[in-house]
């Protein structure tokens, strides 16, 4: 199914399925959801919430992905470094990020720092794992081949090693971004300041809707988060495709097989 067909068919399928589910479980209808979104748009909270949650999610994602990828390159490339820090990283990877939420709020409050820290924490370990596996699993024949051709460090990095590990890294980035948008909601559940630009967010709006028994706003925000995730994922892939083509001169997303 092509992209155009997916874009046109998916909302219809969802609306039909939601109509059946909403009747069965006494949830807001499609029309009520549309009305809730219109209400939020009129009040000015809708776009603001989307913007704030996106900024939080992306900030945490970039911090976590950057540090996680760097650590993964080091642990994947240098066995001794992995032996030194791998155990600790594996232990921390299995500490559930959502379980850290209460203690993070207790230690650092409900400001932006703790929220971005939690998102970055979640993204860090995903990015570290993917990058470590990609770098450690790099086909040694590519290294020998580069050696045999006398390639410079820069040429072998951009032309050989980076494209070799990039598909796995991009996969890790997409998973990390998805998790970032999950954690951003949880982090916003912890509360936000009532003033300033970063006062709300979609997660905060959901928690308020639950408190005020506004299921229409609750479900509308959940749907919005799904659409926002698709949009951010699309932008990430486009960014990576174009960025890699510019950096390496290789259009390796065209490569099949």
């Amino acid at each position: 199914m092509g992209l155009a067909a997916q874009v046109s068919v998916t909302p219809l399928v969802f609306a039909l399925a939601w109509s059946l589910v909403s009747r069965a479980y006494n949830l807001p209808s499609v029309a009520e959801l549309a009305g809730a979104i219109a209400e939020m748009v009129r009040s000015g909270t809708y776009l603001h919430d989307i913007l704030v949650s996106s900024i939080r999610g992306l900030a945490g994602f970039f911090v976590g992905f950057g540090l996680g990828s760097l650590t993964g390159m080091l642990t994947g490339r240098y066995v001794r470094f992995f032996l030194a820090v791998g155990g600790l990283l594996l232990f921390l990877r299995w500490t559930p990020v959502l379980a850290l939420l209460p203690i993070t709020v207790r230690v650092a409050g409900i400001g932006e720092g703790p929220k971005i820290f939690l998102i970055a924490w979640a993204c860090y370990f995903i990015s570290w794992t993917y990058t470590h596996v990609a770098v450690a699993g790099l086909n040694p024949a590519y290294v020998w081949w580069s050696d045999s051709l006398g390639l410079s460090v820069i040429a072998r990095f951009w032309k050989v090693y980076a494209p070799a590990v990039a598909p796995t890294l991009v996969g890790g980035a997409r998973v990390a971004l998805a998790v970032a948008m999950i954690v951003v909601v949880a982090a916003e559940f912890s509360g936000t300041f009532q003033e300033g630009f970063f006062r709300d967010g979609l997660g905060y709006r959901i928690s308020r809707a639950v408190e005020t028994n506004r299921n229409d706003i609750n479900v509308s925000c959940i749907i919005t988060l799904g659409l926002l995730g698709i949009a951010l994922d699309f932008l990430l892939v486009q960014f990576v495709k174009r960025g890699l083509r510019r950096l390496t001169g290789i259009d390796f997303y065209r490569v099949e097989g």
Partner: protein, 247 residues
């Protein structure tokens, strides 16, 4: 000493396991085949010559190319790896451009050299193709072209036709005979196939395991060798010697 390769008392050890045991041989302007059973250390010898045995591997002995320790000159050793190794994200032209990277060639001259090589290797028109779009024989020719574009002083071939079958192997042997030998540099090929060894080699070094020269066989047949040379009795005598050397 000329531009030849001199390997003296080469020993390679992976931890406790000895892969190459005091191996000595020389290669001048000729094709030498290292012949031995799988796992006897043939490829390790090529990696040692290329200088890529890897960390944690103990290498002893000396390897000189033209009287100088190997590794002093980037791109002096060209190698075609088993498989062959062709990164899937690079087109034929990109692979050649990467292969043609030593020195400060002007881009026009580099392009001219690549076009000339692709033409000589029968690869014209395939410049924009990716490796997965090539046949096995075409991949092999691309790998050879990439390895030769830097004009190396010695060429290493690691089981050059193992991944080919039937007529593709015979075509590849013909191609190496006519287009690679004519470059005029020493060639060391690794093989465990008697037919391949006899087709390509001026000399065959039969290796024991771990790799050490057990015996040397001179192959007296003139080049270029075609399929017809395999019909003579002398050929089958040598074939028999090689196959019995495994037992």
């Amino acid at each position: 000493m000329g531009g030849g390769l001199v390997v003296e008392n080469l020993a390679v050890r992976y931890g406790q396991a000895l892969a190459v045991d005091s191996l000595s041989f020389t290669v001048n302007d000729e094709t030498v085949v290292l012949f031995g059973p799988s796992g006897c250390g043939k490829t390790t010898v090529l990696k040692a010559i290329l200088g890529v045995t890897g960390s944690g591997v103990e290498t002893q002995g000396s390897i000189l190319l033209g009287g100088q320790p190997i590794g002093c000159e980037a791109g002096a050793v060209g190698m075609v790896f088993q498989g062959p190794v062709l990164p899937a994200w690079l087109t034929v032209y990109d692979l050649c451009r990467i292969g043609c990277n030593i020195g400060s060639l002007p881009s026009a001259e580099r392009h001219r050299r690549i076009v000339h090589t692709l033409d000589r290797f029968g690869l014209s028109g395939l410049e924009r193709r990716y490796p997965y779009q090539l046949s096995g024989g075409q991949k092999q020719r691309v790998a050879l072209a990439v390895a030769l574009l830097n004009e190396p002083r010695i060429l290493l071939l690691d089981e050059p036709t193992t991944f080919l079958d039937g007529m593709a192997r015979i075509d590849a042997w013909d191609f190496i005979e006519r287009n690679v030998r004519s470059v005029g540099i020493p060639i060391i090929a690794v093989s465990h196939d008697p037919a391949e060894a006899l087709r390509l080699a001026d000399r065959i070094l039969v290796l024991s395991s771990p790799a050490a020269v057990r015996s040397e066989i001179r192959v007296p047949f003139p080049h270029p060798r075609t399929e017809e040379f395999a019909r003579g009795g002398a050929y089958w005598d040598l074939y028999e010697r090689l196959t019995s050397s495994f037992s």
